[in-house]
């Protein structure tokens, strides 16, 4: 057994599937002097990998998770530890069948072979299943099982073969030392272990359920919670014993009972996500010696499992009730859950301290590769922004938040989750100063990064009658869930008069000091060396030319820039800019998010309304588009920026939090005679922008997309250097592999006669339903969908193969396994509404 080395270039804590994958990919990418430690023995140190069910269903509604899974499958296959079994997800209810149709959309969008099949089809492959228990199934032939422990050993041995890895098992980390670096940001310096200290500048916490405990040692939050997933093993079953090998029957996920049945040689493993959420604290996980089996295989609580046992028995009575088939192994297995269900990856606020946690077997090797790339190149091939540890706002780092959210979401592991679905627990974390007023207006609140944002106002219900069918009502419950035609009414009123929109969730930070200009120039694509008082909208790229963000920058002084970005991704943007500050201490980044509120007012009457509240000049000549300046609104100094994400004349007004409620009331009061109404994020985030073809980060824009593909290139590229410039210049020279297009749905009528409205994520096919493939080998899918009430159309955005990106091209969108005709309406950023942007002036 190796001794703990005194120094390392990187220390990987953990020898589960993630840690093993990391050491392999890090050494492959050229890292030297890599040290891997685990407090348990090898090859199974006692974490979640050791008791994993090890099966992989490839289709997920999230593209990020799907990509990580597909990459993992490729790696498992290459290592020879993947056994294809096929898998069924069965539906006992019509609602589930509809969800499986939606799953087909995702399968088509991500290019995964899948099929909806009958119970008889299932019975043919799984003869011991009772067909009267379900009505249909989703068949994925590519589903398989892996040997994750073997895979871990192979990857570790490959890393060892490079001569750059030292593996030290049965050594426990007792401390992570940090020191103060530039801008007050701490950096990692040392890993203290029971086997001695390791001096190092880079550490990865890949310790699964123990990760929060390790994070605490360095003062960072890794907000995951250990949670119980129950499983039992029943056997030997003669029907299974007569087949050779570990798995010869497809895995069955019984979606409506939240269970799965997975063959293990002669045994059938039944696993469940149906029980109450049983959460643990990382500190309460037993040591290896204290545990009966392993620290993550806790005593089975049979009462919790009994209902599932009964349902599993109904489904496979002959197998589970076979003579001699006994329940010999039953555990409460621990796995990691997070508040949003995504992994926790990336560099923490402590420089050099990385995390790769809350990862399932199906994503393990893919995560190892992606994080290793990120550590090496600064970015990964697969976009990881949903999993970035920087995404968590302060309130999301609390254990209580994680506990409440995972308690609520545990049952959703196999649940039917609407894309608009909101959490109920731990709400009201961040309230804008207007919140009380908005409640009185009947605001329906959706949450973004803890902010409660009105999505629409019931107080505007009276507009429905006025606009009639122009609000594009939706007949189907699913299409109209988490939605209201009031959104479209608010939209129409904005275009007709004006709307006042609360944008308090914006993340706002100032960059000041002698290096301020250099910082924004290096991070932003657009020219930021502009006159004081100018507003710049700009993409932010990573080194390979993929989107990190898109945001606006205001130059408030020679050495003073203000960055305004969306609330959802603001924490990561702030971290990105902070990471690009020069080392001089005079240049600083100051977060104003909690000090400054933003209220938008847009519409043809916006200028009249603002003018009625200020004596300052707000005329077009006096206050041009893309400029900002302070104005006095009824005695309050407000920073006004003439910009629009909804394609209308108007301003974003930045006001101190304590004055925001007054400004809000003043705008509504002054606006009322002009017909202005409060409007929600439904307008701001979807209908307003989609009519204008404005792109949204996280939907159209992510690190796998380029400025050229998104149709956002400007004629010139600034001379100053910026992150991703080289890649961007190359992208401009090459033909795009895909082109972001705006499509309109021509006919919504389904086979049943009911009109259906897509919500996003649906595949775009040829008019007769054939698959399209772009230059990346990807298949087009809807990145954003929404009503365009001013056009009377339902609009979709999608990246199409360049040859299909032709105005007027007739294609189809597949929704719930039916085809609807669509027409390409725009092949670049040209808006469908007001293409010359006259309304904005």
């Amino acid at each position: 057994m190796a001794e703990v080395p005194a120094t390392a270039d990187v220390v990987v804590i953990g020898a589960g599937i993630v840690g093993n994958s990391l050491v392999h990919h890090l050494t492959r990418l050229g890292w030297r002097n890599v040290v891997q430690i685990d407090k348990g023995p090898l090859p199974n140190p006692g974490g979640s990998t050791g008791h994993a069910s090890n099966f992989i269903f490839t289709v997920d509604h999230s593209r990020e998770i799907t990509d990580l899974t597909l990459d993992s499958v490729r790696q498992y296959q290459e290592m020879g530890v993947f056994t294809q079994s096929g898998g069924f997800e069965i539906a006992r209810t019509p609602e589930r069948m509809e969800e499986l149709r939606r799953r087909m959309s995702s399968a088509r969008a991500w290019g995964i072979e899948a099929e909806l099949v009958s119970p008889e089809f299932v019975k043919d492959k799984v003869p011991f299943i009772e067909t009267d228990q379900f009505i249909g199934a989703f068949w994925t032939p590519g589903v398989g099982v892996v040997d994750s422990l073997r895979a871990g050993t192979i990857m570790r041995e490959r890393a060892l073969a490079t001569g750059e890895l030292t593996v030290v098992p049965t050594v426990e980390v007792v401390g992570l030392d940090t020191e103060e670096g530039p801008h007050g940001r701490r950096r990692i310096t040392r890993v203290r272990t029971t086997g001695g200290d390791i001096e190092t500048g880079t550490v990865v916490i890949a310790a699964g359920v123990w990760s929060p405990k390790l994070g605490d040692m360095a003062g960072i939050s890794i907000p995951l919670t250990p949670a119980v997933h129950q499983m039992i093993s029943v056997g030997p079953c003669p029907q299974l014993a007569e087949k050779e090998g570990e798995i010869s029957f497809p895995i069955v996920r019984d979606m409506d009972t939240f269970c799965y049945e997975r063959q293990h040689g002669a045994d059938m493993e039944v696993g469940s996500y149906a029980h109450r959420a049983i959460l643990h604290e990382p500190e309460d996980i037993p040591s290896i010696d204290q545990a009966k089996l392993s620290p993550t295989e806790l005593p089975f609580t049979s009462d919790d499992f009994d209902p599932q046992l009964e349902q599993a028995y109904e489904l496979m009575p002959e197998l589970l009730g076979a003579e001699g088939a006994e329940m010999r192994y039953a555990i409460n297995g621990l796995l990691s859950l997070t508040c949003d269900g995504n992994p926790i990856l990336g560099e923490s606020e402590v420089a050099g301290l990385w995390t790769a946690a809350a990862v399932w077997i199906k994503e393990g090797p893919g995560v190892g590769r992606a994080v290793a790339e990120w550590m090496t190149e600064g970015h990964s091939e697969i976009d990881l922004h949903h999993s970035d540890i920087a995404r968590f706002h302060q309130h999301q780092k609390r254990r209580e938040h994680t506990r409440l959210r995972t308690t609520e979401s545990f049952i959703k592991t196999y649940g039917i989750i609407h894309p608009g679905e909101q959490y109920e627990s731990d709400r009201d974390q961040r309230l804008s100063p207007m919140h009380a007023s908005q409640q009185k207006l009947g605001a329906v609140f959706f949450e973004t990064a803890g902010w409660e944002r009105p999505f629409w106002y019931e107080s505007n219900a009276g507009l429905l009658e006025q606009y009639g069918d122009a609000v594009m009502p939706r007949e189907h419950e699913w299409d109209s869930r988490w939605w209201s035609p009031i959104i479209n009414a608010e939209h129409l009123r904005m275009r007709e008069a004006a709307a006042v929109i609360d944008l308090s969730a914006f993340c706002i930070f100032d960059i000041t000091g002698p290096g301020a200009l250099d910082t924004v120039q290096r991070t932003c694509v657009a020219q930021c060396d502009v006159a004081v008082g100018k507003v710049v909208y700009t993409p932010v790229l990573d080194a390979k030319g993929g989107f990190r963000s898109d945001l606006t920058v205001m130059r408030l002084g020679e050495d003073h820039f203000r960055v305004v970005t969306g609330g959802a991704h603001g924490m990561a943007d702030r971290a990105w800019f902070a990471g690009h500050l020069p080392d001089d201490e005079a240049t600083t980044l100051t977060d104003l998010t909690d000090d400054v509120s933003t209220i938008g007012i847009w519409g043809p009457r916006a200028r009249d309304i603002l003018a009625s509240l200020t004596s300052d000049d707000v005329s077009d000549a006096g206050f041009g588009f893309l400029t900002c300046r302070e104005v006095d609104v009824r005695g309050t100094t407000v920073l006004a920026s003439r910009i629009s994400y909804v394609g209308e004349l108007g301003w974003e007004l930045y006001v101190p939090m304590e004055s925001a409620a007054d400004l809000w009331e003043a705008l509504l009061e002054a606006g009322a005679p002009h017909g202005a109404v409060p409007a929600g994020i439904g307008v701001y985030g979807t209908t307003g922008r989609i009519e204008k073809g404005y792109r949204a980060y996280g939907a159209e824009l992510d690190s796998e997309r380029t400025i050229v593909e998104a149709g956002m290139q400007r004629p010139k590229v600034k001379v100053a250097d910026f992150v991703g410039k080289e890649a961007y210049l190359a992208q401009r020279e090459a033909a795009p592999a895909a082109v972001l297009c705006t499509l309109t749905v021509d006919d919504h009528t389904s086979a049943s006669g009911m009109k259906r409205y897509m919500l996003g994520g649906e595949p775009i096919l040829t008019a007769d339903g054939r698959t399209l493939t772009d230059g990346h080998g990807h298949h087009p899918y809807v990145t954003s969908a929404g009503s365009a009430p001013s056009l009377g159309k339902h609009v979709l955005l999608a990246y199409l193969p360049p040859e299909e990106a032709v105005l007027g091209n007739q294609l189809a969108v597949s929704y719930m396994e039916e085809l609807y005709p669509v027409t390409v309406g725009s092949v670049d950023a040209t808006p469908l509404l007001d293409p010359d942007n006259e309304r904005i002036r």
């Binding site: 037993p286 010696d289 005593p299 049979s302 046992l309 009964e310 028995y313 009730g321 088939a325 010999r328």
Partner: protein
């Protein structure tokens, strides 16, 4: 042959096969890591109860004394073939072995009064936690029945119980008329695991709940502690696979390698 009514008594105890953790108040074992179970002696007693009942066309009932969670152990016994269950609801920590024996006796007498006499009462040789080694014997005196202690094999023929186990001088056999009390040591039978239908059936069996029949005298426990580590004079030959040559040297030196 008469159908036998067998009662088997089990106790919910913390699993002690891993490193022990005591509760903060020092009154027992903290089972939250390793879980709870019944002792292996009792698992064997349950198995014997089920086998003896089946062999005579009779029925096996299970009894426990403990808090609400102890129902789990009743269900475990029901899942492997017991068909009725009695739960004396009490904090078993507050009861001494004499109390437990008296409470079991009270149940046996009550069942008898209800027309359901238990011909044979089986217990484990000792509880895995408190290790008192006496409840079965005290129960026998409470009931005025003979008791066979610490046997591994039990059978019944024509109302006569034959039980045997290893004694100091060899394998000892007892032959006792029923009704009787027997305490079982593990090793004579292989306890079965529950089946899925068995577990489902167990879930549906109503559990008879009873309160304490008497006032407990208590266990006279002051506190529990962990024994101090023994002094060590171990010679460490090395760490990991590199120690193999030193190990084989030792094997040669001890003369156990020759073949």
């Amino acid at each position: 042959m008469n159908a036998l009514d067998v009662l088997v008594c089990v106790k919910r105890v913390p699993d002690s096969t891993s490193e022990l953790v005591l509760t903060e108040d020092g009154q027992g074992v903290d089972g939250r890591f390793a879980g709870f179970t019944m002792s292996q002696h009792e698992q064997c007693a349950v198995e014997i109860a089920v086998q003896v009942a089946a062999a005579t066309g009779g029925a096996a009932s299970v009894l426990t004394l403990g808090d609400g969670d102890a129902v789990e152990q009743l269900r475990a016994a029901l899942a492997v073939g017991c068909t009725a269950a009695t739960h004396v609801v009490a904090d078993s920590q507050q009861l001494g072995p004499a109390d437990v024996a008296r409470e079991i006796a009270a149940v046996v007498r009550a069942h008898e009064a209800d027309g359901r006499p238990h011909d044979l009462v089986l217990l484990g040789h000792d509880a895995a936690d408190t290790g008192d080694f006496q409840v079965g014997i005290r129960l026998a005196y409470e009931l005025g029945r003979p008791v066979v202690n610490g046997v591994t094999v039990v059978s019944v023929e024509d109302g006569v119980l034959t039980a045997s186990g290893d004694g100091p001088d060899g394998h000892e056999t007892y032959r006792v008329p029923l009704p009787a009390v027997v305490t079982v040591l593990e090793g004579g039978v292989e306890p079965r695991y529950p089946t899925v239908p068995g577990r489902m059936k167990a879930k549906k069996v109503p559990v008879e709940e009873r309160g304490l029949a008497g006032t407990p005298a208590g266990a006279a426990r002051v506190r529990w502690s962990l024994p101090p580590a023994a002094p060590s004079d171990v010679q460490v030959l090395g760490k990991g696979p590199e120690a193999a040559p030193a190990v084989v040297d030792l094997l040669e030196q001890l003369g156990v390698l020759a073949r």
